[in-house]
Amino acid sequence: MNAYDIVMDLVSKVSDISELPQIGAYNIRADGAGAARQNTENIQIITKTDKPGIDIMVKPGTKGEKVFIPAVITRGGVDDLVYNDFYIGEGADVEIIAGCGVHNCDCEDSHHNGIHRFFVEKNARVRYVEKHFGEGTGTGKRIINPVTEVFAEEGSYIEMDTVQIEGVDSTKRVNKAVLKEGASMVVTEKIMTHDDQVAETHFDVDMVGQGSSCHLVSRSVAKDNSRQLFQSYMKGEAQCYGHSECDAIIMDSATVSAIPEVVAADVEAQLVHEATIGKIAGEQLIKLMTLGLTEAQAEEQIINGFLR
């Protein structure tokens, strides 16, 4: 496979596009440098001058457009650090498809550290989809450490779907958000770890505005000898509603920790946390086996459904 094919193969795995889109904005980053870019009338992507990364400027009122910003690493020994800032103009409604794919057939580690900040203006809506994926036969580790910071203005809405299903040896994800009056955030995280992988997720959400809300759902499967940590800190400083849910299936010799913290600093703050860690329920396996599936097939169906 040549370099272009490796890049596009990884891009397709993390962003569901198999070729460069004809319409819509995109920026593809490969091995620490910009590889391709397209702007539209409403969405401008500008290279930062003070540090590596880009500013994605979405004009107020932009509706229904998508932005693709995958980053891929095709070899070992790459240490990529990128700062991407998204400015979502007032009343806009857009979708951002990000993601990171690391292909490492070498013996040196490869890192991708993406620091994403979202400035979501009044009444804007944004859906952010991010997929992390690793592959390759080398002994070098595939390491992805993303940071997201959300500044949600009045009446805005941000939805984040993040998925890491396979091949990432180590990940530490840090998510921070400040939600103003009437702002809402919905985060859905799906993680599967296997072998000796390590995955950490930290959420820090501050609901400062009246009527703000946050809903965090983390579903994970830990197999083999892998380790996972889920930590959430959710603070309500006004009349608000916060809900976080960590639901994990543990298998083999894996370890899963859930450390939730909810802090109410207003009598009208309503905060809920749920954490469940357990093995696949025996009755679920039995039910699917009575439909003719083998135990292994039943397990696969249950996990695929759980992480869907």
Binding site: D247, L288, T290, T294, E295, Q301
Partner: protein
């Protein structure tokens, strides 16, 4: 033909749940198993489905000894089992389950067809996750729809009427009758309901882990309905 020969089942602590049960379920028969709570009916159903292994005895399906076969192998040989307490799944939809039951990917229309037959109308049900948002009665109907989608030669139901409201009960009876006509297999239902007993070809009364009575509904039903004391296993259908 499903044949149970001298089946016994004891718990690890030695408590005997099923005692020397022998039973033949011929092809295309509609058999209802009834009897007092705790008598061993559900245990017997689980032994037939392969979920529990009998401590003694053997099970034959169409002449083949299936005693040593697991749940999957029995399912693939044509045994279906609707649980008394249906299982919930996170992320698995009603259509997924019906497709797994049918052994192929069902279209929305096909899945809706099965659901309509069990009284769950509306496309809205098909793509819903089979999770805690469903009521017990809805889950029971999905469980029955799965058995219909499988269409196997032995369909085993453990108290299908539990949680189903009275209004829907009449439809439930016609579902079983229709299934019997269409699939041309044997239907075995564990039930306490007179109206289900009334459509049986044969009624088996299980009490204290044994067959207390067995026979046509004309023979068994009047005795059960006259309020005669519940028969016990020790006197084989007599009244102690």
């Amino acid at each position: 033909m499903l044949e149970l020969e001298h089946i016994s089942y004891a718990l690890p602590d030695g408590k005997q749940i099923i005692r020397d049960v022998s039973l033949k379920i011929p092809d295309e028969k509609f058999v209802v198993i009834t009897g007092p709570n705790g008598g061993g009916k559900s245990t017997l159903a689980k032994i037939i489905a392969g979920i529990l292994t009998p401590t003694q005895g053997s099970i034959r399906l169409d002449g083949e000894d299936i005693t040593g076969l697991g749940i999957t192998e029995r399912a693939n040989r044509g045994i279906s089992f609707a649980f008394q307490q249906p299982v919930r799944f996170k992320g698995i939809t009603v259509r997924d389950l019906l497709s797994l039951a049918a052994g192929r990917e069902l279209s929305v229309k096909e899945a809706c067809g099965y659901l309509t037959e069990v009284g769950l109308n509306g496309v809205g049900y098909v793509e819903r996750e089979v999770n805690a948002s469903f009521s017990g009665g809805e889950l029971k109907r999905i469980e029955i729809a799965m058995i219909m989608a499988r269409g196997t030669k032995i369909s085993l139901f453990d108290e299908p009427e539990a949680g189903i409201d009275l209004w829907s009960f009449k439809n439930l009876i016609s579902v079983f009758e229709q299934m019997h006509d269409q699939i041309k297999g044997s239907i075995v239902i564990i039930s306490h309901q007179e109206r289900i007993l009334d459509i049986a070809d044969e009624i088996v009364v299980i009490a204290d882990g044994q067959i207390a009575q067995i026979g046509g509904k004309e023979q068994i039903l009047p005795e059960l309905l006259t309020g005669a004391p519940a028969p016990c296993g020790c006197c084989k259908g007599g009244i102690c």
